[in-house]
């Protein structure tokens, strides 16, 4: 591959998607006709004392079939932010990959990271760009969360299909199980929750969503598959180890048994 050099008028600057367009590698978003693809489901995110917690189940479904059991819908975007996605799995994964690359590309070209709000806007444009595909049923609706180093607090952003960006103050849920998960978080959310309480609440919301929504997967003890749960604080993104989640879900199961 030759090295991409541009004249000042055509230079894509620090934008990776623009660079892809210039070299003819931009992903196509227009699909003809309706297509059936695996769908990913419930994700929640909530603010706590030190930042945000993001959590998502692992199931992908095609209609009434389970097409994938270990999908990771909550992923790190960069050092201080993460994305959770619900919707058509293929375009969503492509969008996340491009989003991660864009943040890293910007950081390397410019020598400093985008602000959290800049990242949220960037994602908004990507969701907007997916609108033609969304009209064909390939809807992608992410949640963006991160730690704002300038304001020193955790922040959450929800999106709609058209790229509309809405900052949520306390918590947000997306996907087919969002109603159940969102309600659980709504009931349990308090200002300045500590880390373990926030994690327990996020896990509990996924548990209840999996309990009522067939497209959301609960913890799979047989195969040892647990939801992806991560915290983002001033120290950066940290994904919880399965060992820690085992304890959290054990506690939830015991509580449910004892009813």
């Amino acid at each position: 591959m030759s090295m991409p050099m541009f004249t000042p008028g055509t230079d894509p600057g620090s934008s990776f998607p623009e660079l892809l367009k210039r070299v003819g590698l931009a992903p196509a978003v227009d699909f003809a006709g309706e297509v059936s693809v695996p769908h990913a489901t419930t994700c929640v995110a909530l603010r706590f004392a030190d930042g945000v917690v993001m959590a998502g189940d692992r199931r992908a479904t095609s209609g009434n079939l389970i097409s994938h059991r270990t999908m990771e819908k909550v992923v790190q975007a960069d050092q201080h932010s993460g994305v959770a996605i619900a919707g058509a799995a293929g375009p969503a994964m492509e969008m996340i990959k491009l989003f991660q690359l864009q943040l890293e590309h910007y950081e390397k070209v410019e020598g400093s990271s985008l602000s959290l709000e800049g990242k949220a806007n960037q994602l908004s444009m990507m969701v907007r760009g997916n609108l033609p595909a969304a009209m064909q049923g390939m809807v992608v609706v992410p949640i963006f969360g991160g730690y704002d180093l300038r304001r020193a607090n955790g922040r959450l952003f929800a999106y709609d299909v058209t790229g509309g960006r809405y900052e949520e103050h306390d918590y947000v849920a997306t996907g087919s199980g969002m109603l159940h998960a969102g309600t659980v978080v709504k009931m349990g959310w308090r200002d300045n929750l500590d880390r373990s309480a926030a994690i327990a609440l996020a896990c509990r919301s996924l548990w209840e969503a999996a309990d009522a929504d067939s497209a959301t997967g609960g913890p799979d003890l047989l195969r040892g598959i647990y939801p992806v749960v991560a915290t983002i604080t001033a120290g950066g993104w940290q994904r919880l180890a399965d060992e820690e989640l085992v304890g959290v879900f054990e506690a939830i199961a015991n509580e449910v048994r004892g009813r």
């Binding site: 591959m1 090295m3 991409p4 070299v23 590698l25 390397k108």
Partner: protein, 225 residues
């Protein structure tokens, strides 16, 4: 119409090379040296915002000396080439050798075909998964590539600095020793303080993105140890 005077190709090349060398010699030098956990890059650079050393990709770093706008243009082109390659194929397929070859092509092309050669010397460093796969590619203004094993010096006064490095270099040294040795080699009989230096490492134990800048207090601690 008057004919231009005949100038032999040898003379043209020599003039261009002299011009580029003079431009490079005006700037401060830079040393890249291997240590036990990767590669340390130490540049004499009083500015804390205009960088000579920067990240290209997970395991790759770029360093340039000479004219800032010219090597910065090359740096951005390198980041683009690496990110595109990683996007199109896989992150594992991005390597220093192909990037160095690309740079050599561009610099060679500009040196022979443009009015003015680029007044830069650049380095593409790659930290391997194991120490024996570390790579340092030193590329000159005319596209000449050197593949160095242990350390490399870029910029004016490279010979004297290289001689000092040769005396003090040891395989498998810790980071503090490597930074100290590079700083001493750059300084000669002067004294350099952390504020005069720009230091970064490609460290094997730094996760996916191996590149990390060392802040002044860490550099100071390394120099005092």
């Amino acid at each position: 119409m008057s004919q231009p005077f005949y100038v032999s190709p040898e003379q043209v090349m020599k003039d261009r090379a002299d011009y580029a060398r003079k431009g490079i010699a005006r700037g401060r030098a830079l040393v890249a040296v291997r240590y036990d956990d990767g590669i340390a890059l130490v540049a004499e650079n009083p500015s804390s915002t205009l960088r000579k050393i920067s990240e290209i990709y997970d395991r790759l770093a770029f360093a340039g000396v000479g004219k800032y706008n010219e090597f910065d243009q090359l740096r951005v082109a390198g980041v683009r080439a690496a990110d595109l390659k990683g996007f199109q194929y896989s992150r594992d397929d991005v390597d220093a050798r192909s990037l160095a070859n690309n740079y050599a092509q561009i610099l060679g092309q500009i040196f022979t075909h443009e009015m003015k050669p680029m007044e830069v010397e650049i380095l593409v460093a790659e930290v391997g998964v194991t120490p024996d796969t570390d790579q340092l590619f030193h590329i000159l203004y005319d596209g000449t590539v050197f593949d160095e094993r242990r350390y490399t010096v870029l910029g004016g006064d490279a010979e004297a600095i290289g001689a000092r490095m040769k005396e003090s270099y040891a395989d498998g040294q810790p980071l503090a020793a490597a930074v100290q040795e590079a700083t001493k080699a750059l300084a000669g009989d002067r004294t350099l303080v952390p504020g005069d230096l720009e230091v970064a490492v490609l460290s094997r134990s730094n996760g996916r993105r191996c590149f990390r800048r060392l802040p002044d207090d860490v550099v100071a601690a390394a120099l005092e140890s």
